[in-house]
Symmetry: C2
Subunit: 295 residues, 2 copies
């Protein structure tokens, strides 16, 4: 089969063996934002034509390709949900020469009834479930997801807009005028520590500017201080502590993001269990198996 993670700005495809092994892979920049109306079948064929030519006839796709802005909308499926429910909620789209299905995103509601949504990350979570993972999972990113895996299903989750808030503040806010390119692990750790002080996030973020103006933070350390501050706030809100047990956190991320989150989680006392970023291929294979088993 062919498994595809087709997001807003990226396209990742995997040629998978019947047992889920990755036989081949390709990645390109062609995210859904660049696809004209009605252009999805042609874009798909252009990307994976050789695999189709070699006889592949089943394609499973996850990510924003199944959103309102994508090929066809595959409506959000409410939690709890596992590979079987996700497989049953796939949407088939017409495509000559292969069976093409889109995975749904997931939705959940918190105690106050406020909804949350994911699209693409559910497939990574299914990949972790397939590897036997249970408990609390963090998938860092523009919109970080914290999910609970329980009984072979995704019980619920919460999204934190950490990466986007960092990006808009640095690219369009006053902190961007202050910051210069550079890295500083010490500043990152200082930001993580600051996130535990009173005053709140909106005050702490302004403090980044005040520290710079008063000569207490180098311009080259501004971005990493801000990262530590925001990731620290995210973890303190998302990671339940002090209730008798400090739960281990399963972390699945690209190397760059994993490094920062692992450092911050460690600084705050969490045990981290790292997983690769490539769990999406395992998730696509598991969803296929969840529906019809391995054919």
């Amino acid at each position: 089969m062919i498994g595809i993670d087709w997001g807003t700005t990226s396209f990742r495809a995997y040629r998978l063996a019947a047992d889920g092994r990755v036989l081949d892979r390709l990645e390109r920049a062609g995210g859904i934002l660049g696809i004209p109306a009605g252009g999805f079948p042609a874009a798909l064929r252009a990307a994976i034509g050789p695999w189709l030519g070699a006889g592949e006839a089943e394609i499973l796709m996850c990510g924003m390709v199944g959103s309102r802005q994508g090929w066809v909308e595959a409506p959000y499926l409410p939690c709890p949900a596992g590979p079987a429910e996700i497989a049953a909620a796939t949407i088939e789209v017409p495509f000559e020469g292969a069976r093409v299905r889109l995975l749904p995103g997931l939705s959940t509601r918190d105690g106050a009834g406020v909804p949350d949504v994911m699209r693409g990350e559910e497939t990574k979570l299914v990949g972790l479930l397939a590897a036997g993972v249970e408990g609390l999972v963090c998938l860092p990113g523009t919109h970080s997801k914290w999910a609970r895996l329980q009984g072979g299903r995704i019980a619920g989750f919460a999204t934190h807009m950490t990466g986007e808030v960092r990006a808009v503040l640095l690219e369009h806010g006053i902190l961007g005028r202050l910051a210069k390119p550079g890295r500083s692990e010490a500043a990152f750790a200082r930001g993580v520590a600051r996130s535990g002080d009173p005053g709140g996030l909106l005050h702490h973020v302004f403090g980044t500017r005040a520290l710079g103006l008063m000569g207490d933070l180098a311009a080259e350390a501004t971005a990493d201080y801000l990262s530590g501050l925001l990731i620290g706030h995210e973890i303190r809100a998302a990671w339940p502590r002090g209730a008798g047990s400090d739960e281990a956190v399963h972390l699945a991320a690209s190397a760059v993001l994993a490094e920062g989150y692992e450092a911050a989680l460690g600084q705050l006392g969490a045990t981290v269990i790292r997983h690769g970023d490539d769990v999406v291929a395992a998730g696509l294979a598991a969803v296929r198996a969840g529906r019809g088993g391995v054919r």
Copy 2:
């Protein structure tokens, strides 16, 4: 005398009587960002030439005109500080035909040693001090200031980046793609209420998007929901409650901002004492009096 509040994007000038009454005023868009290097004396003369021609010979200026990006930097003065200390820290700049002085900004440090700064708002606070105000003051804005007035001086303050975070999220983030122009008091109140739920600001902000995607929040109500959410977080962090007394909040803001902050403060149980937005002229007069008395 002439009092001027010269900010990043605006220029407000007051012709003041010896007793501080406003005799005349003018406002223009010519903020310091639009002034070329060395261009401040000419820009000042162009703006208030008629008043100089009428015999005014003393000019006090506050705001970003006294910053590193302004005419000359008037260094930050540490809190606690009142009109006398501020007057003593003014910086005189050469200008033919009048004595021109720039007011310093203020700095403070919190219990953790993290600095905070203001420039321009200290003059509004001096205006409130001149009117006999003591206690907790909120000056809402792009960078909202919460200050404590005590014994005729500004004891300390904290800045919250509320307005800027709102603006960059709506203008450059994913919420902006969702939001449509519109007003909704009910959505604003819902955002204020949401700010008290668990989960943290970064999660609550993403919830704005999820509410929209799930059809639980109209596109026209998105901006006001986000405002209520952020202002709610600001107030909950800045307004000390539950320690025996719920302190009244002095609010000085333009009509538009005051409306939202008054509603949110009221919703959270605070007594609000409103002051006009025009306290800066009173502050400029008080700083002059604080130094040399009325001549």
